[in-house]
Symmetry: none
Subunit: 205 residues, 4 copies
C-alpha cells in the first residue's frame, strides 16, 4: 500500500518516494484534502526534504500528474495509432483489461484523471490544462482510430467519429463516478460491459 521509504541521502529515491506517497494520498482523499503531513509520513521523509524537491504543494501535485499520471494515461491508447490494428478490437480489448483490473484491485479509488478534474479543474488553471491535455489525447486517439477504421473498412461509415469518441471517453470517466457512489466494482463492470456492447455496434454491418 505505501510507497517505499527512501534510503538516506538518495535524492532521486527521495523524490520518487514523495511522488508515490503523494499519488496515493491524492487518490485516497483528493488533492485539496491531501495533507502534506500524511504524505510525508507515508514517504518516510520530513518537510525539509519535500520543500527541497518541490517549492510548494501545487508543484508537487503537478509533478504527480506530469511524472506519474500522464505517462500512464498517454500510454493507454498508443496502440490505437497503429495502422495495422482493428480499432474496434483494440477498444474492446482495452475495456476487457479494465474489467480484469477492477476485479483484481476492487477499483478502490477510481481513475486519477477523473478524480483530479473534479477536485482541481475549476480552481487551478495549471491542473486543468494538464488534465484537459490527457482527456483530449484520449478523445483524439479514439476519433483518429475510428476515422482510420472507416477508411479501412473496419468501422461503420455512418457514425460521427468525434462525437462517438466523446461519448466513449465520457462513459469511461462516468463509470468511475457511478462506481464511486456504488462503492463496489459490480457497477463499474456493468458499465464496462455496456461499453463492449457499444463497441460491437461500431463494426460495419
Amino acid at each position: 500500500m505505501s510507497a517505499q521509504p527512501a534510503p538516506r541521502r538518495d535524492p532521486d529515491a527521495t523524490r520518487l518516494a514523495i511522488l508515490g506517497a503523494a499519488f496515493e494520498e491524492i487518490q485516497a482523499v483528493g488533492f485539496r484534502a491531501a495533507s502534506l503531513e500524511h504524505i510525508l509520513a507515508r514517504a518516510g521523509v520530513t518537510k525539509g526534504a519535500l520543500y527541497h524537491h518541490f517549492p510548494n504543494k501545487q508543484a508537487l501535485g503537478l509533478a504527480v500528474i506530469d511524472e506519474l499520471i500522464w505517462p500512464e494515461a498517454s500510454g493507454s491508447f498508443a496502440i490505437l495509432a497503429d495502422e495495422s490494428v482493428n480499432p474496434v478490437e483494440a477498444l474492446i480489448g482495452f475495456v476487457r483489461e479494465e474489467i480484469a483490473e477492477a476485479a483484481a484491485d476492487g477499483h478502490l479509488h477510481g481513475c486519477p484523471v477523473c478524480n483530479l478534474v473534479q477536485d482541481m479543474a475549476a480552481i487551478d488553471e495549471e491542473f486543468r490544462l494538464r488534465l484537459l491535455r490527457i482527456q483530449n489525447g484520449w478523445r483524439e486517439a479514439i476519433a483518429n482510430a475510428l476515422r482510420r477504421g472507416q477508411r479501412q473498412g473496419t468501422v461503420r461509415k455512418g457514425i460521427d467519429a468525434e462525437r462517438m469518441a466523446a461519448v466513449l471517453v465520457a462513459a469511461y470517466e462516468g463509470a468511475n463516478v457511478l462506481a464511486k457512489a456504488a462503492q463496489d466494482d459490480k457497477t463499474y463492470v456493468t458499465c464496462m460491459q455496456g461499453l463492449i456492447d457499444l463497441g460491437e455496434t461500431l463494426r460495419p454491418r
Copy 2:
C-alpha cells in the same frame, strides 16, 4: 448569483436562503471546501440562524441533497415511466433539453450529483447512500423504459437494457467531467450530441 436575503423572522425563508446559498457554494467549490462563513454571507444570515436550522455542516449538506437536488433529479426521468411515451424519443428529448440549458447557463459547475459523488461518496456513508439512490433511480428508470420499449416494439430487441442504461448514465455524468476540464460548453454539447446519435441506434431497424 446569490440567494435572496431572508426577511426578518421568516423561518422558512431563512432556511431556504441558507439551503440555496449552501447549494451554490457547494457547486462552486465542493462540499468539503465549502465555507460556512461564505454560505452565511451569501445567504445574508448569521451563524446563530444556521446553527438553529441545522446542527452541523453535514446535516446542511444532506438537507441540500434531500430538499434541492433529489426533487430536481428524481423529476427528470419521471416521464420515462409513462407507458404511452416512446422511450427513445423521451431520452433524446431529455438530452436536447440539456443542450439547450448548457447553451443558456454555460454549464458552469456541472451536475450536482456528479460533483458531490466525487467529493463525498468515498468518505461519508450518508452522502453516498443518498447519491447512490439518485443514480440508481436514473439507471432503473432508463432500464425499465428500455425494456418496456422492447415489449412495445419501440426499442431494438438485441440490446441489454441494464448495461445500456448504465452506459447512458455514465456518459451523462462523464460529460460533466469532460466539461469541467474543458471549462467550456462545447465539449459538453459534443458529448450530448454523441448521446443523441447513440439514442438513434436504440430504435428497431
Copy 3:
C-alpha cells in the same frame, strides 16, 4: 435520573424543573461547563421559559445554591445545636449516614459545595460568598458543638475546637476529591471510616 418535565403553564413547576435539571447538570459537569441547552432538554422546557424565570446563567446557578444546596447543607448539622445531643455521637452518626448513602448511590458526583467551590469560587464573588457561608456554617456548627461538649464533659478538653472543626470539614470535603480521582466509593468509605476513628479520639479519656 432526570428532573420531572413541567406540566404546561405551571410557573412554579417549570421553575422547579429548571432548577432540578440545572442542579443535575452542574453536578455532572460543573457550572462553567454546564450547557443551558442540556439543562433545558433535561427539564423539557425551552430557552424562553428559562429566561422568563432567571435573567441569566449566573442567576440560575445562584438560585440552585440558594434554593437547593443551602437548605440541604444547612440542615445537615442543625442537630449539633441541640444541647441534649452528644456532639461526638452526632458527628459519628453523620459520617455513618454518609457511608450508607455512598453505598446506595455510589457517590457519583460528590458534594455539590465542594464541586462548586472548585469551579466558581475563584472567578465569581457571588458564588464564593454563598459557598463560603455554607462552609463557615459547618465549621461553626461543629466548633460550637465541640466547645459545648467540652463544657458538658462529653468532649476531651485538650483539643482546639476551631482547628479540629476545620480539619473535620476539610477532610470531609477532601474525601470527595479523593473519591473523584478514584472514581469508586471504596476510597470515600475509607476516608469516612478514618473520620470515625478520628471522632473516637474526641471523647474524654
Copy 4:
C-alpha cells in the same frame, strides 16, 4: 507572574515556556477553561510552536502533569520512606512548610492536584489515572511510614494506618477547597494547624 519568553530556536526552552505558561493558566482557571491563546500569549510563542511540541490540548495538559506536577508531588513525601526518620516529625514538618509557603505566596490557586481532579477526573480517564497515581502515592507513603513507626515505637499502636493516611490526605486536599472559598490563607493555616494537632495525637502515649 508570567513564564520567560523563549529565545528563538531553542526547542527545550520553548517547550518549557509553553509548559510553564500552561501550568499557570491551568492553576488560574482550570484545564477546561484554559485558553490556548492565553497560554501562548503568556509563553510568548505562536500557535505553530505549540502544535509542533504538543499534538493537542489534552497532550499539553498531560505533559504538565507528567513533567511539572508529578515530579514536585512525588518528591514531597519521599522523606517518609527514610527508615531513620520519625514519621510524626516528618509529617508535622511537612505541614509547617506548607504554612510557611502559604504565608509567602498567599496560597493563591491551591494545590494543582486538587484542582485538576475536580476539573478533569470525571471526564478524562488519562487525567484521572495520573492524578489518582499521585494521590495513591501520598496515601501509601504515609500509611507505610505510620506502619513503620508503629514497629519502631514512634507511632501509637492503636491507629489504623490506612484510614489515618486517607484522612490526612483528604484533609490536606480539603484544606485547599476551604481556602479557595475563603480566598485567604488564614483558613488554610487554621486547617494546617489542626493537622499538626492531629499529628501530635499519633505519638505513642
